[in-house]
């Protein structure tokens, strides 16, 4: 297969399309090459507290985050990490895992906890379904956007 050349203009155009159409992801395939651009659509909660002054690390809300995908595709139905942190598969050491492969889950059910700066983030299932794969192990560090498990 020919070397995959990243076409920046194409990524930019896809990002723009994504934003204009208010989609969460878009995939373009031609000649055996594929580019997928995804973003997180955030509904900000209305609250009396005004927004914080911006700092450099505002990666959670980063709208269109182009990710040219050549090596490891994010599988369909994957739940990805919303932040850099540490994964916990159970509420406490030696406790049973929140979910296991084969479990059916309901929407909103806690799948894993991601810890960052001592903030514990129980990740809810984005939809009802069955856990078909778990990519991470307990205590493992994870990156922003890293696939954690698949709910299908």
């Amino acid at each position: 297969m020919a070397e995959f050349e990243l076409d920046e203009d194409l990524v930019k155009r896809l990002s723009q399309l994504l934003k204009d159409a208010d989609l969460s992801e878009i995939e373009y395939e031609a000649g055996g090459q594929r580019i997928r651009v995804a973003r997180q659509i955030h509904q900000s909660v209305s609250a009396p507290m005004p927004a914080a002054a911006p700092v450099a690390s505002a990666h959670l809300n980063a709208a269109p985050a182009p990710s040219a995908e050549s090596s490891e595709p994010v599988p369909a139905g994957a739940v990805t990490s919303p932040m850099v942190g540490t994964i916990y598969l159970a509420a406490e050491p030696n406790a049973p895992a929140f979910v296991q492969v084969g479990d059916s889950v309901r929407e909103g059910q806690t799948l894993v906890i991601v810890e960052a700066m001592k903030v514990m983030n129980p990740l809810p299932a984005p939809r009802a379904g069955t856990v078909t794969r778990i990519f991470v192990s307990d205590g493992q560090p994870v990156e922003f956007g890293e696939p954690l498990l698949v709910v299908e």
């Binding site: 914080a52 540490t86 700066m117 903030v119 990740l123």
Partner: protein, 265 residues
């Protein structure tokens, strides 16, 4: 530890809090964070709702560790609904830590100084006197509904068998009129002050104040992660709140996002 102080009584005075807070006062609860989570889910509790319990039967800290919660200490969870992304909202843990240090400063005799231990613990005379447990409430679409700021302050009692040496405000010389209500009132004032500063000026003044109070900066520390233990020099706190560790084995500066810190003897 019971130090023979009189029982705080069944009806402590009602705390007087700034109007930004809405107090939910409870006698006894499993865990204030769990109660706060329930109030977000069931009652859509607003920003500034403060769940205060005089006693917890299932108080917990990081990784489900028990938090000893007899009557006489302060246990609260504050429901925060910041509009900023989660990556910035985690800075509120540092805001709360320095606010509690200021609050402790106002109720303790002069010369007693509170220090912070990364990420969100408070020390007096090298012993742990307070801790935070921050948890998010995320919607199934991944957006943040609320940030729960759980806090426990050892006012009268402290555990003698904790994994990190502990103490209490009374054991460190607080006057007999310093009770959990006084600490709650002082904390709420200073938290409001520091939150406003954070909203106006960002993380920078919070980070500077936190670093000024940080124990062990520039010194050798041990960081226990779930799957490894690191040794190195505690250099800095980065803009995201990660601890920057200069590793002894000559590796790159390592940013730590979650772990337990121990200081050299």
């Amino acid at each position: 530890m019971n130090e023979g102080y009189q029982d705080p009584g069944d009806s402590p005075r009602r705390p007087s809090l700034p109007p930004a807070f809405r107090l939910v006062a409870l006698e006894c609860v499993g865990s204030t964070n769990d109660e706060a989570r329930r109030l977000v889910a069931d009652a859509d509790a607003e920003d500034g709702t403060l769940v205060w319990a005089r006693e917890q039967t299932g108080g917990r800290g990081r990784l489900g560790r028990d938090w000893n919660s007899p009557r006489g200490n302060l246990y609260l969870s504050l429901i925060l609904r910041p509009e900023c992304p989660l990556s910035e909202a985690v800075q509120l843990g540092f805001v709360a830590a320095i606010a509690l240090c200021d609050a402790i400063g106002t109720v303790m005799p002069p010369m007693v100084e509170a220090q912070v231990k990364w990420p969100n613990d408070i020390l007096v005379n090298d012993c742990k006197i307070a801790g935070f447990l921050l948890e998010t409430v995320l919607s199934s679409d991944g957006s943040m509904q609320a940030l729960l700021l759980g806090m426990g302050v050892n006012v009268r009692h402290y555990p003698e068998d904790a994994r990190y040496p502990a103490t209490s405000l009374r054991a460190e010389g607080a006057a007999s009129d310093v009770d959990e209500v006084a600490v709650l009132e002082a904390f709420s004032r200073h938290f409001l002050k520091w939150t406003n500063r954070w909203l106006d000026e960002g993380f920078s003044p919070v980070r500077a104040n936190w670093l000024h109070r940080a124990k062990g900066r520039g010194e050798r520390i041990e960081v226990r992660l779930p799957n490894e233990t690191l040794h190195g020099v505690f250099r800095d706190l980065d803009e995201a709140g990660a601890l920057c560790l200069d590793r002894e084995d000559g590796g790159d500066l390592r940013r730590i996002y979650a772990g337990d810190v121990f200081f050299a003897e």
